[in-house]
């Protein structure tokens, strides 16, 4: 056996997926041990992904042909600058899982812990597989692993309307999955191939066909649903707000991004096959701009802090989609960096909000007045996250939004540039409102006055993430430099 780094790419999705099957076995002896086991697996996955990212920067993209069959005859996984998204994915899971150890004690019945941890690993493996594969049918399967685990994670706490929220999520998600499967079938019938780049090359070589356009449109609609772009966002607020907070962090920060990764795949497919996407790009920009404003606007009226964060995700997806639709270097770079930045910020905010809810048992702004004085560290982390999501320099949210804005103005889309500014203004209003409640109002609830900071297994990840919001903001240029070559490639294909 000769070790090669490209073979290690195969292990990146396989490790968490195979480990997920072991979780119930570990949990049979001790439910708590399952949490430790899951943490170790996420840590190993993150370490592998980081090692691969270092190889990627040094030597260029790593490709693995599974079973040794070259594309298009076999399945190909690519660890390129887009696939490197797996590294932050695994790292965020490695922070969310220890947070969940103690959080679950109060919110999820003990006999469901094994299922919870297994679902987390399945979700991670699916997300990694989705971002690495360039095989269309494989993409569909990875998406199903992510979707099924996400639906179940929403319902895992099993309280109140969780089952209904999960059902709503499942129904819309299934429509989206069916559209992807339909599109893959169309493309296979047209080209006889499943490898994304082979399909694109064969489409480019054949006569333009309405079926190919329909396939791309189906894929685009399907991924827009997964990304919860306005007006197809209706499943998101309930699902993200009702789920246990570690799950909300994963769903809102990471899982919606499969819609974005999917849209990038559609852009690659369209670019390489020479199918014009003008109408599609226009639509993306329009819906993105509307989502920015509507998501932020609706967030202002939420009293429940998790619902507020959920609406903010809709707004931020708007930023990313607007950036992709503009299809100019600044905007696309900004959008792809914002995929990472928003993940970081939203995981921070949901975990901080989860800490507050866990320690006080309260979740509305009205009840949480004055909580900043009793939970100073957690609320400081929340404040830092809030500054980042508004996009105040020097935090993580600034540089990506700035680049999307620059892109809008440089493309001559001034109206969209202003939509972006208005969105930021609304976001500013609702976070000022939150900070005002936390710090400058007198506590009205006994629980708030009696609250103490959460245990270190919860506080540690929150503080680390909040610090990252600041540090990433200071060194945002590195992320831009990392993603720029990929953006260049993407836009060059689309321009041809």
């Amino acid at each position: 056996m000769t070790f090669s780094w490209s073979q290690a790419v195969a292990w990146l999705p396989v490790l968490p997926l195979a480990a997920a099957a072991l979780v119930p076995i570990v949990a049979q002896r001790n439910a708590r041990a399952a949490g430790g086991f899951t943490f170790v697996v996420t840590l190993l996955t993150a370490a592998l992904a980081v090692a691969l990212t270092i190889r990627l920067v040094a030597e260029g993209p790593l490709t693995v042909h599974l079973g040794g069959w070259v594309a298009p005859y076999g399945i190909e996984l690519r660890f390129d600058r887009l696939g490197a998204w797996s590294a932050p994915l695994a790292t965020f899971f490695a922070l969310v899982v220890p947070f969940a150890w103690r959080y679950l004690e109060g919110s999820v019945p003990r006999e469901r812990w094994a299922a919870f941890y297994a679902l987390m690993l399945l979700n991670l493996g699916g997300l990694i597989g989705f971002s690495l594969t360039v095989d269309l049918f494989n993409l569909f399967l990875a998406m199903e692993v992510v979707s099924i685990s996400s639906y179940a994670l929403v319902a895992v706490a099993g309280r109140g309307t969780a089952a209904w929220a999960a059902l709503k999520y499942l129904l819309l998600g299934s429509v989206s999955s069916l559209l992807v499967l339909f599109a893959v079938a169309l493309l296979f019938a047209l080209t006889g191939s499943l490898n994304l780049f082979d399909v694109a090359a064969r489409l480019a070589a054949s006569e333009p066909s309405p079926a190919a356009t329909l396939a791309l449109a189906s894929l685009a609609v399907a991924f827009v649903v997964k990304a919860a772009l306005f007006p197809l966002h209706v499943w998101l607020p309930d699902a993200h707000a009702i789920a246990p907070s570690p799950v909300s962090a994963v769903l809102s920060g990471l899982v919606v991004k499969i819609g974005i990764v999917g849209l990038v795949r559609v852009m690659q497919l369209a670019g390489e096959s020479g199918i014009a996407l003008d109408v599609f790009s226009e639509l993306l920009m329009l819906l993105g701009a509307v989502a920015i404003v509507m998501g932020a606007f609706l967030a202002i009226f939420q009293d429940d802090i998790k619902l507020m964060l959920a609406y903010s995700t809709i707004s931020n997806i708007g930023y990313i989609v607007l950036g992709l639709g503009l299809a100019v270097p600044f905007a696309v770079s900004g959008a792809l960096v914002h995929v990472f930045n928003h993940a970081l910020i939203k995981v921070t905010l949901f975990l901080a909000a989860g800490s507050i809810i866990h320690q006080t048992g309260l979740r509305t702004l009205t009840d949480l007045r004055g909580v900043g004085r009793t939970l100073p560290q957690t609320c400081a982390a929340m404040t830092l996250g809030a500054m980042a999501i508004v996009g105040l320099p020097p935090t993580a949210g600034f540089i990506s939004k700035w680049y999307i804005g620059l892109g809008a103005f440089s493309a001559g889309r001034v109206a969209y540039g202003f939509a972006l500014v208005f969105g930021a203004l609304f976001v500013f209003i609702y976070y000022v409102r939150m900070l005002n409640t936390f710090y400058f109002q007198r506590a009205t609830r006994e629980e708030v006055v009696a609250a103490v900071e959460p245990p270190w297994s919860m506080r540690g990840p929150v503080i680390a993430l909040a610090a990252a919001c600041l540090i990433v903001g200071l060194f945002g240029g590195i992320l831009l430099a990392f993603i720029t070559p990929a953006v260049g490639e993407l836009l060059a294909a689309m321009g041809s």
Binding site: M1, T2, Q7, A10, W11, V14, L17, A18, A20, A21, L22, P24, I25, A27, Q28, V64, H65, L66, G67, G68, W69, P72, Y73, I75, E111, R112, W113, A114, A115, F116, L119, L122, G126, D135, F137, N138, L141, A142, E144, V145, S149, A152, A155, V156, G158, F182, L186, F188, A189, L190, T191, G192, S193, L194, R202, S209, P210, A211, L214, A215
Partner: protein, 247 residues
């Protein structure tokens, strides 16, 4: 609102049908599905994979990673059902960590949900062993002749459900020992991870199978191991999904 929905459905359906109408005619010999990747599988599949059945060659060798993810999807379905709140009031906690849905030893009266005629009960009893043998044959010969792990899992699962309906759940649950359940349900993903690693050691590629004639027995053993994982894992998952339905 209802008319709007109807209009949307009609427009969407018309669009999808127009798209499908543009595809190459069904079964046309010069359609891309028959001339590109598929043609190469037919031409060289047997020689370059060493498999005697081309379906197995595609399922396990060329696109083995897809099959791995399919097995993971089936496992996810079980975990998802286990994670869901129970439809009825949960049973009092019996003190261990196992999820109630994974527990096959449901107690209490009214286990016999349907009153089964003695004729049906007798036929199930009579045919049970034959069905089991058929499932085994489908498993063992599946990579050569029609059949395979998934089919075998479906037959075993159906047999389990038939026995549970006729003999009651407790009797059926004895077929899948409680302690072994968590191991057996994991066999699908685990067998792929294990055999994939063996393939990596032997061929240098994850999920690779040695293709030369000399490695015939080894290759055969690897394929059967994966098929057993799919069949046993799938059957145990089907059985548990059935038992999770308390209604």
């Amino acid at each position: 609102m209802r008319w709007l929905g109807l209009a949307l459905v009609v427009v969407a359906a018309a669009t999808l049908m127009l798209g499908v109408a543009d595809l190459p005619p069904h079964g046309a010999p010069d359609a891309p599905v028959h001339t590109h990747v598929g043609a190469r599988y037919l031409e060289r599949g047997v020689a370059e994979t060493g498999m005697r059945n081309l379906v197995t060659a595609v399922l396990l060798v060329y696109r083995g990673f897809d099959t791995f993810l399919e097995v993971v999807v089936i496992f996810s379905a079980l975990v998802a059902v286990v994670a869901l709140p129970r439809g009825r009031a949960a049973r009092p906690d019996d003190g261990d960590d196992r999820p109630p849905a994974a527990s096959l030893t449901a107690e209490g009266p009214a286990q016999q949900l349907v009153s089964v005629s003695p004729v049906v009960a007798f036929v199930v009893q009579l045919l049970g062993p034959f069905i089991a043998v058929f499932a085994l044959a489908s498993l063992y010969r599946g990579h050569v002749s029609p059949g395979g792990g998934f089919q075998s899992a479906a037959i075993f699962g159906a047999l389990f459900i038939a026995i549970a309906l006729v003999q009651g759940r407790e009797r059926a649950a004895l077929l899948v020992p409680r302690g072994a359940r968590v191991w057996l349900q994991a066999l699908g993903p685990l067998s792929f991870a294990l055999i994939g690693t063996v393939g990596w050691i032997l061929t240098g590629a994850f999920l690779g199978y040695p293709a030369d004639a000399a490695a015939y027995a080894l290759r055969e053993a690897m394929v059967v191991a994966v098929e057993v994982g799919i069949a046993v894992g799938g059957a145990v998952i089907l059985a548990q999904l059935f038992m999770a339905m308390e209604g």
